[in-house]
Symmetry: C2
Subunit: 492 residues, 2 copies
Amino acid sequence: MAKEVTKRADNYSQWYDDLVVKADLAERSAVRGCMVIKPYGYAIWEKMHDTLDKMFKDTGHVNAYFPLFIPKSFLSREAEHVEGFAKECAVVTHHRLMTNPDGPGVVVDPSARLEEELVVRPTSETIIWNTYKNWITSWRDLPILCNQWANVVRWEMRTRLFLRTAEFLWQEGHTAHATREEAEAEAMKMINVYADFARNTLALPVVVGHKSPNERFAGALDTLCIEALMQDGKALQAGTSHFLGQNFAKAFDVQYTSKEGKQEYVWATSWGVSTRLMGALVMAHGDDNGLVLPPRLAPIQVVMVPIYKSEEERNAILDKMDELKRELEAHGHTVKIDDRDTLRPGFKFAEWELKGVPVRIAIGPRDLQNGEVELARRDTLEKCQVPQEGLGKRIEDLLEEIQANIYAKALKFRDESIIKVDTWEDFKEKIENGGFLLCHWDGTTETEERIKEETKATIRCIPIDSAVCEEEGKCIYSGRPSHRRVLFARSY
Amino acid sequence: MAKEVTKRADNYSQWYDDLVVKADLAERSAVRGCMVIKPYGYAIWEKMHDTLDKMFKDTGHVNAYFPLFIPKSFLSREAEHVEGFAKECAVVTHHRLMTNPDGPGVVVDPSARLEEELVVRPTSETIIWNTYKNWITSWRDLPILCNQWANVVRWEMRTRLFLRTAEFLWQEGHTAHATREEAEAEAMKMINVYADFARNTLALPVVVGHKSPNERFAGALDTLCIEALMQDGKALQAGTSHFLGQNFAKAFDVQYTSKEGKQEYVWATSWGVSTRLMGALVMAHGDDNGLVLPPRLAPIQVVMVPIYKSEEERNAILDKMDELKRELEAHGHTVKIDDRDTLRPGFKFAEWELKGVPVRIAIGPRDLQNGEVELARRDTLEKCQVPQEGLGKRIEDLLEEIQANIYAKALKFRDESIIKVDTWEDFKEKIENGGFLLCHWDGTTETEERIKEETKATIRCIPIDSAVCEEEGKCIYSGRPSHRRVLFARSY
């Protein structure tokens, strides 16, 4: 095999980096903390984009685009928001470079200093609510249901490809409503859109819940989230949806005239997912041979590798592959024939396994003679001989089966990793093995922070599924009374 | 009519601004020179994106994503490039804000100064070629055919919505090739993709040509362009494709080992179109009533307006409209029923005319009785009664006809505006009326700049259509010998 991948058991973190880089998803750039998303990785992101975009539009949302820059003063308008985002942001102070008078290259032109510094958006609530002020005067202007696909910058000190980068790609929905109830329903609707997307497209079984007050988005009254479990037992926040109350409407003075003729502040939500989902995809499903892509996100769903000795065999096999490719494409599948003649089949097999292609078809001279192909599935690594006839339908069923199987496997792992814990001793022991610990908590930020200090575990969410967690009990840490269990885990 | 639009004859420039803002395409933001692209405008841009993206993929290109930031020193690597872009760029100097110790709000944290300043990308050749260095070692790695959809920033002093903004959206293709011939062919292929897109989708008849050396992209050996003519007789550069030679490969030391085992520098192209095309669309086709959108770009292709007095009539008409809408949607058209009950039909007619919807269908009680609808086309403003039966097919043909008619009208205008001029006196007179002047030029930058100083006209391009311009003659300005005519115009 050409590219060695570290084994998960040896070094999970290195295994992740290996997969991202060696499977050509992304790489570090010359700019600190910023990544280059390579064509293969970007093709997966495009599928995420297209699927989500359709889901947003089907639920009545439209896209728009707001400025990259935010005037520094806007950030301070909402008190909690500035606390949350001012500490790590890229600040534009000048608008010109000039030839270096003292040497080679260019330097900042000191005369081109901006009157007010601009921040590269870390999130767009402030610039968007400043805009909504002009769009909203009457109840007739509501709701506004906008989404934006954009890049954002947060100057993180420690970065990891996809999981935490200084610049990342995301979508951010920003909605404006006449009533509290409508805004709350919107925030819930969108976290459910994310959960459906995670389950059906990413094959990622997520837990939907509320964040504890301490973990809320800066400026939100409530933050809903989807939490996924990675194979090392750490949790990953995969998407959030915030009920912002009237905080931004008040900060930017956005009021509307109600049907009754009264002036009222507008209610808001915002919600987003990012290229972080790429990291979740890698870590949730990959194995020691490389990526395992759910068919619905795979840029190549079926790869065909010819096995031959002579030029004559090669030509005959490639002709047959062209024919089969057309049949599979007619069924809506994406197919690649790997006809490179400088590489051995074994090398190609390993490369496409590394890249997580769901199905591999190999054809050799004997297969050609017998009217068969060798079929290999990436998820189970099983191989079998099947007839060429009816291949289109067979592959269609197989891709569905693989999608379902990847989800089922991840779901089983997650369900086995949700453990009820009732004592502090047990908590400290179990948390070392990873997984979600379902525990009673007294509801105070103080207890939450103590638990974090002692174990590095945080409350990932308070699940909305009341059957799972609504029961009386005592806080594992303080012993004080608690009315429901919450999910603790260490996290990315 | 609710929103007055300035007439073209009264003030063309104000007419343009009125259309952009009042038809809800875009508006100015709180950030100097940056625009907000509103949902209706963004929906048109999405159609441009989707159509172009497919054309790029059909010609073998893939998408990727490169960092927003460029280290300052990268810009200086290519001597001409830095001259072209350093003067107007947003410079990030710090990565943190802090609470203002002397008052309210936040200030730049002086301790968070970056070691090397970062420039917000004005274009990405430098960061991309720095990346390509790692991707290319052998002839087997070539060609690389990447495109990126991104935002870029150029700190323009005078801005206009879509035409010239500090931040804009665009795509930039960056390709790497083993030979000069292949790179030159790529640059030509892509300008032809743009020309096809302009003609078939934007309904914009463009002239394809080479820029004069003086007007080339900073760092290019050749710049190809498509030039469109606006209704006021000014030209607009709608897209460019650059043959970059080995300039960037040399600046970033990108070499490959050829089949013969020799080290060679890589050949490059880059090509792009931007949200500027939105401006071209408005100015090329709009009229005094508002936008005129080619059906292939219209977010709403057919709008239906019910005309009624009683609630009973309203319900009956809306039921019929639902039925017709389903029929039209089955033909692949985008349909909106304007059922707002607080507005008069006349107001709605004007609003959808302003927004350029290609076809309007009105149904009143008598139409319902007669099994007819009133059909109005936006391009000609003609109205007629047609039967409801077979409406799907009729609309399909009509949308095709409108698309063709908008193009034909623009083509006629452009062809009438290309004028051969052979004397300097004539040039100075004719240029006042706008249009493309097809003239002999002695090939020197000196002459080109004199002409610009005296008339504000520049060489828009040296057309590649040799039948149009290859002939012997004398430069209109210097009288020196010339072998071909070139196109002069005033431009945006």
